[in-house]
Chain length 388, copies 2
């Protein structure tokens, strides 16, 4: 496979502005990423869009072709990738594969989602399409209730308390304070966390990521194409892997083991030829604090039942052993679902390029970036390497 | 890029049985294709699903992971590709790229769609999400009305009459008679065509493809992997290309020129190193008869305004110069939208392998297979070669 580089990025501020439609915000993100890369639209061979709910919530499918038109990429190959909340990274992986294959030299990737133009019940029902409709959604389960199930089971099995999850949320909120693209700019304490409303026992408001809108974009290039750009490439996609598990929790051997996290992490690290101790940053999918704990365990950073210890012991801050959610994560930067995977990759790119400003993790050279669809059904994992 | 072969296929009979849900019919198609290839599930590296409307009509997204589970492909990479009615071929193209890149040795592709479990208005609205909602759908345009616009404009510009479109429909219905997987088994005459109800002037019932359900699947493999199977590969994907045009007709320079058909056909033929005269079969996207005429012209088989002449002059039958819709096409085999691109590839595979039975085009060695999303916004084109 050919080497693939990230040569430009952009992100729009995560927001709750219901008026800005996908095509405009997506096109703006794409144009900004191309500008950042110094790539003329005519050089772009393809556009891969990540989106989950435009068909359901905005009656608009075929976003790939639509965004290509509005971003000035007339004629290019374009398609939409859907894997629920992992749609953004799935789009990036397709971009990666198309260049690795030699089908294209330069491609654009855009994750976009709009969720706040409909009422809360409508978006809750739309999010439940990421679950198994027959076995979960039709019976009234929501995305929130399924994560509450996981959190209850985890607390019960391992004897973990509510406050043990707080550090994930506190860390995300702290890191978002200095991220102008984050939705939430509000530091929280453990007392704030414990005082926050229980939205679905035991999930508190501060365990859950907010409903919001956003778009982020990346430009990927082959080595040959990257060499022609005004700026030498700074980040290589050293590993890319995807894996799945049954969509319904009831069809998994153990719902507290995220098999697709385990498989895709192992493959991505192996492809990148690094080990866990080499990972400087883990941009994980903190849609809920329970997902942080499960991800750390299934990815191999902590033994079963010990995921929250990593956070309690303070190793997840910007200066910790394993910084998480360095720009605020899904929890505080926000989780516009189909866009999230692209935001994560953009943020990791900024970290490795030493362009993360106040959020910079010093000396970051290798980032693990993980985007999860559903309660762990689709997991797309990338490893980014800073170029020496 | 590495060579990619089709090593197994399957198709379920196109139907109007509303009870059979996507996961079961899709899994059945996948298992049958793996059986046909003689591939054990454990050897499959990824599953790419093509689907347009499951989220909207069945509240089920993340079909990739869902189908992987139900087809016994636990853990594999899986994702859903969406490009409206071109979703099936978009999934096949992703499978192609993943093997060409060297990321996988064997992958499965499945197109699936269920449309008959909801009322006619609901499916009409869902199909309109393939159009531009802001510029077309919100104003009341449906997929049918947009194709009627195209047909009116075409008849007016070129002085073509209604009966000139009849041969496309007659040919499709004739070929479907001997296809057990076709939805419609009814020969029609030009008189039948002209007597059929006008559903949106000038589109008659016999110009339009039916609303239906279906699933079709393919197994793709690298040369190395194909060599390990019980049957030597018979068909190679010699060309694969995708292109887009603006989604809304009003944003195109000339709606009667399908720019994405032109671009993707040119690229796919060039990659396969063949010319128009080398094409033995053209499985084109005959969702409406007007699309046949426009496709033949934009793909370069007929000059502008002369697409219907090819049909009138009788060259599109199984023994013609350019056989079209050899198993009945979208018109009579049926058009379960996200599955259609996979049915087309399966049929072309059967033709090149001389397994087409009563529908066999004698001596067919090269097939052009084209799947279109919307009114020409996304076009995915493949060239299949029979292996000498």
């Amino acid at each position: 496979m050919r080497d693939v580089f990230i040569v430009g990025v952009s992100q729009t501020p995560v927001n709750k502005d219901a008026e800005v439609r996908d095509r405009y915000v997506g096109a703006a993100a794409l144009k900004a990423a191309l500008d950042d890369a110094g790539v003329a639209p005519a050089r772009v061979g393809a556009l891969y869009a990540g989106n989950m709910m435009s068909g359901t919530l905005a009656r608009q499918q075929q976003l790939g072709a639509l965004l290509a038109d509005y971003a000035g990429l007339a004629g290019v190959e374009a398609v939409t990738l859907e894997a629920a909340c992992a749609s953004g990274a799935a789009a990036a992986r397709m971009g990666y594969l198309s260049i690795a294959a030699g089908a294209h030299e330069i491609v654009a990737v855009c994750g976009v989602e709009r969720m706040t133009h409909v009422d809360h019940d409508t978006v809750t029902r739309a999010l439940a399409t990421a679950a198994d409709w027959e076995l979960e959604g039709a019976g009234g389960e929501s995305f929130l209730s399924l994560n509450a199930q996981l959190m209850r089971a985890y607390m019960s099995r391992y004897g973990v308390r509510a406050e043990d999850f707080a550090p994930f949320s506190i860390n995300a909120h702290r890191n978002a304070l200095t991220n102008p693209n984050a939705l939430l700019h509000k530091a929280i304490t453990c007392d704030d966390y414990l005082a926050s409303r229980v939205v679905a026992d035991p999930v508190r408001l501060f365990d859950a990521s907010p409903i919001c809108n956003g778009a982020a974009a990346l430009v990927l290039a082959s080595a040959e194409a990257a060499a022609t750009l005004r700026r030498a490439p700074r980040v290589r996609i050293a590993g890319s892997a995807a894996a799945t598990a049954p969509v319904a929790l009831s069809r998994r051997a153990d719902p507290l083991q995220l098999a697709a996290v385990e498989i895709s992490t192992r493959r991505a690290l192996a492809q990148a030829r690094i080990e866990h101790r080499d990972v400087d940053i883990f941009e994980l999918h903190d849609a809920y604090t329970i997902v942080c704990a499960l991800s750390l365990e299934s990815a191999g950073f902590a033994p079963p039942g010990r995921g929250t210890r990593l956070a309690v012991e303070g190793g997840i801050g910007l200066d910790g052993d394993l910084p998480l959610a360095t720009f605020g994560g899904l929890k505080a930067r926000g989780h516009p679902v189909g866009a999230t995977g692209c935001y994560q990759l953009v943020e990791a790119y900024l970290q490795l390029g030493e362009s993360a400003g106040a959020n910079q993790v010093r000396g970051a050279e290798r980032a693990l970036v993980q985007n999860i669809g559903g309660t762990g059904a689709t997991v797309v994992t990338h490893v980014l390497h800073r170029i020496a």
